[in-house]
Each structure stands twice: as C-alpha cells, then as structure tokens.
C-alpha cells in the first residue's frame, strides 16, 4: 500500500479504487484535513506534541477511510480522547478543532461540540442523574461531548455520590454508540491519572491520551501579541519588553493559568490604557487609541509582588 502513497494526485479516484489502488494524496486533499491542520498550526501557538498527535490521528482516520474503500477491515476506530494539561493550555480550543476535523472525515455527523462539567451531568437527588446525563448525551449525539474537569465525576470520599451513576451511563454509551458521538475528557494531569486509576473502564475505552504542555515564556509573549492584534491593539517596543518580564514573573505566582492569565492581563492592560487616555484628555489619534504603552503593563500588581502581597514594595526595575 505504501508505494501508492507517494503517487501524484489524480482525479481518477474511482477507477483506481476499482483496480485496487487508491490515491492517498487526493484522498487527503479531498478530506480538507490539510487545511485544518494548517489552520491549527497557524492559529495555535506552541503545543507541538499536541499538534503532532492530532496529525497522527487525522492521518490514521484518512488511512482508515482508504482501507474501507479497498475492502480491508478497518472497524470503527475508538475516537474517545483524554486531554490532560494545566489550565489555559488550549484544551477546549483544540477540542473544538477536533470536532471539526472529525466532522470533515465523516466520523461524526454534525461536528458540534457540547461542553459540560459535573453539574450538567450529575443530579441532586436519587433518580435525577440518569435523565440529566441522558439529556446531555442526546444533545451531543452526532458531535463531540467535551467533559471539562472530568475527575469531579468520581468522588471516592462519598460512596453515595451520584457521579458513579453518570459514569456508568457514559461508559455504556461510549461503548455502544461509538458511531454516534465522541467523548473528550479534560482536566489536570495528576488528577486525571488518579481518576483513570479508580475507573479502569474509562482508561480502556479512551484510545488517545493527549498531554498539553505548559507554554514557554516566548510562546506566551507571542500569544499576548496575537490576542492584542486580534483586538486591534499593538504594544509599544518598551511595552513588549515589559510583557516579557511580566510573563516571567507571573509564572512564579499562584493561580497561573497560561494563556488564560495572559488574556486576563491583556484585558486589564486595555482598561488601564483607556483610563490613561481618558485622564490625559486632549487629542487622540488612531495610533494612540491602539497602542498599549509600557506604563499600562508595568502598573500590574504582578510587578509589585503579586496578588498575595498587595503591600509589597515595588522592586527597582
């Protein structure tokens, strides 16, 4: 099969299929997956291992389709996934992209993403959980069910917890209706590992475990610039230096949530910028309205020692 893999794309796909050859290049292009992968590469900064895994999965799915066409057994692949990683590492964003890729390849029929947490699945009293979980599952049919912080479903300290009921229903549907929906579990790495240890049924039903690494400092700066550009803001050169320092400092402080922290910081910088312009009065041109200056960045509490130390004396920079 591999020798046909490198042949040039051609339009005569059905004829080739008839004589037992398939043009993988054409198959790949037809599926529109390359565009998605390119978009993923461009749209998401960093996350190299994640991108590679997604590329692998996408290739596997395309090959699965090719095998089907030539009458080889492919079987419905198990597509349930687990995304583990710290907060703000892009798990939800990637899940959304994953839903689109699976839709393009025809592994889910609608390609929508239903994002839920424990509250949406588990009821408050006996007999409440099953209908609630089933309701969500019905909504997710034909698409992707994304369960954020999935480990909260299982509470070992309370044996009467209704989470177990939701887990059982989930497992049953994950096994029996693999054609109808794909389940993606997400959460912090260590807690997900413990969750899988106590629910071996889950681990065995999930084919792809993808670990989302933390962003590098440089990547976070890049993300800040991209986010700012998307909102029509630019950083002054001094502000860029300040951002780099900000990222390095913020990482060491509690509740650091990668890209999400950067998003929040950016929101506050925009607030400060607005206030600065508002108070300075006078004329403001396009550049002034769109530029975030060094002062807007450096006014952050992060430079004053962080959230935990409001009275901390600012260090000399």
């Amino acid at each position: 099969m591999l020798d046909v893999a490198t042949s040039a794309p051609s339009a005569a796909l059905p004829a080739e299929a008839a004589e037992g050859r398939l043009d993988l290049g054409a198959l790949f292009t037809e599926s529109e997956v390359p565009e998605f992968l390119a978009e993923l590469d461009e749209g998401l900064i960093g996350l190299k291992p994640v991108k590679r895994r997604i590329r692998e999965i996408a290739a596997h799915l395309v090959i699965g389709r090719a095998r089907e066409k030539l009458g080889l057994t492919s079987g419905a692949p198990t597509l349930h996934m687990a995304f583990t990683g710290n907060p703000g590492t892009g798990k939800t964003t990637v899940a959304l992209k994953m839903a689109q890729i699976l839709h393009r390849l025809g592994y889910v029929r609608r390609g929508h993403l239903v994002s839920v947490t424990r509250d949406d699945l588990v009821g408050q009293y006996i007999g409440h959980t099953a209908p609630k979980t089933k309701e969500i599952l019905k909504k997710a049919m034909g698409g992707v069910l994304f369960i954020d912080e999935a480990y909260y479903l299982y509470r070992p300290e309370n044996e009467r917890d209704y989470g177990q009921e939701a887990i059982e229903i989930l497992l049953q549907v994950m096994e029996n209706q693999r054609d109808d929906l794909v389940v993606i579990l997400a959460g912090y790495k260590d807690r997900m590992d413990r969750f899988f240890e106590s629910n071996p049924g889950f681990r065995s039903r999930i084919a792809h475990h993808i670990d989302f690494p933390d962003y590098e400092d440089a990547e976070l700066v890049e993300i800040a610039k991209t986010m700012a550009a998307d909102a029509d803001y630019t950083f002054s050169p001094e502000a860029e230096v300040a951002i780099e320092e900000y990222v390095a400092k913020r990482r060491l402080q509690p509740n650091f949530a990668n890209a999400r922290s950067i998003r929040n910081a950016l929101d506050r910088m925009r607030l400060r910028q607005s206030l600065r312009l508002f108070e300075s009065g006078g004329l403001a041109d396009r550049a002034a309205l769109s530029t975030i200056s060094e002062g807007d960045v450096r006014a952050s509490r992060v430079f004053a020692g962080g959230i935990d130390a409001p009275d901390y004396k600012p260090q000399t920079e």
Partner: protein, 133 residues
C-alpha cells in the same frame, strides 16, 4: 384494519433509516421532536401518552431514535408516534406526526348504533379492543 393517521400512514411501515431521516429533517428545521404512545388510536384521541418530554436543542437523530427504541421496548403492541413541533412564531403547531409502531394485529373500529328519543339514531366509533369487553 390498518389505522391511517398522521403522515406516511398510507405507505408501508418506515424502516429505521427512514424514521431517522424524517427525524433528522425535523431537527434540521429546528422543530422539537417528541415520542408518544397509546393503545387507543381513536381519531378523537388527540392526546397520546407522552414518552418523556419533547426534546429541544438536539442536533442529531440518533438521540431521538434512542427514545423511539426505548418506547417500543417498553410498550410493545401499542401505537407509537413521533411528533415534530414547530415553535416558530406564526406556526406554533405540530408540523409532522407519523406512526412508527403499530400492534401486530390491528383491531380497527366498530360502529355502534344507539337509539335515542323519538326515532333518533346515534352513531359512535368504538375501538374494537375496548368494544370487545
């Protein structure tokens, strides 16, 4: 006697794929789909028993079809129908309703004639499974 009410009732029974396709059409129109069952298919019996609540915000027929299957399993030998309700302003009515299960042997109806005061004749349609008793 084969009961003919709702859409497609003059056609042979719909296959699973056909039922799913109809449900998918209804969902694509943003209609809320519900499942109902009864043992009394009298034309005047508008309100059948509800199998769960109408299903809103669904995207794919698989969810609804699961409920159809569950209803069939729980009520073999009864009539089961699928309704699609259009909640858009200007409609707010059932746009599609079709039977997805019938009893193996359909009893049909019997015409009862009662004599009233004077020479009045009153006629009533009775479902045979009730009328037998």
């Amino acid at each position: 006697m084969r009961i003919t009410q709702g859409t497609f009732s003059f056609l042979p029974d719909l296959t699973a794929a056909q039922v799913k396709a109809q449900i998918q059409y209804a969902l694509d129109q943003n209609w809320a789909v519900s499942v109902e069952y009864t043992d009394d298919p009298h034309p005047r019996n508008t309100y059948w028993e509800m199998w769960g609540l109408p299903m809103f915000d669904l995207r794919d027929a698989a969810g609804v079809y699961g409920e159809v299957e569950a209803c069939r399993t729980a009520h073999p030998g009864k009539y089961v129908r699928v309704n699609a309700f259009d909640s858009n302003r200007g409609w707010e009515t059932v746009r599609l309703s079709f039977i997805v299960q019938r009893p193996e042997k359909e009893d049909g109806f019997r015409l009862d004639r009662t004599e009233g005061p004077g020479r009045t004749q009153r006629y009533a349609l009775q479902h045979r499974s009730y009328a037998a008793g």
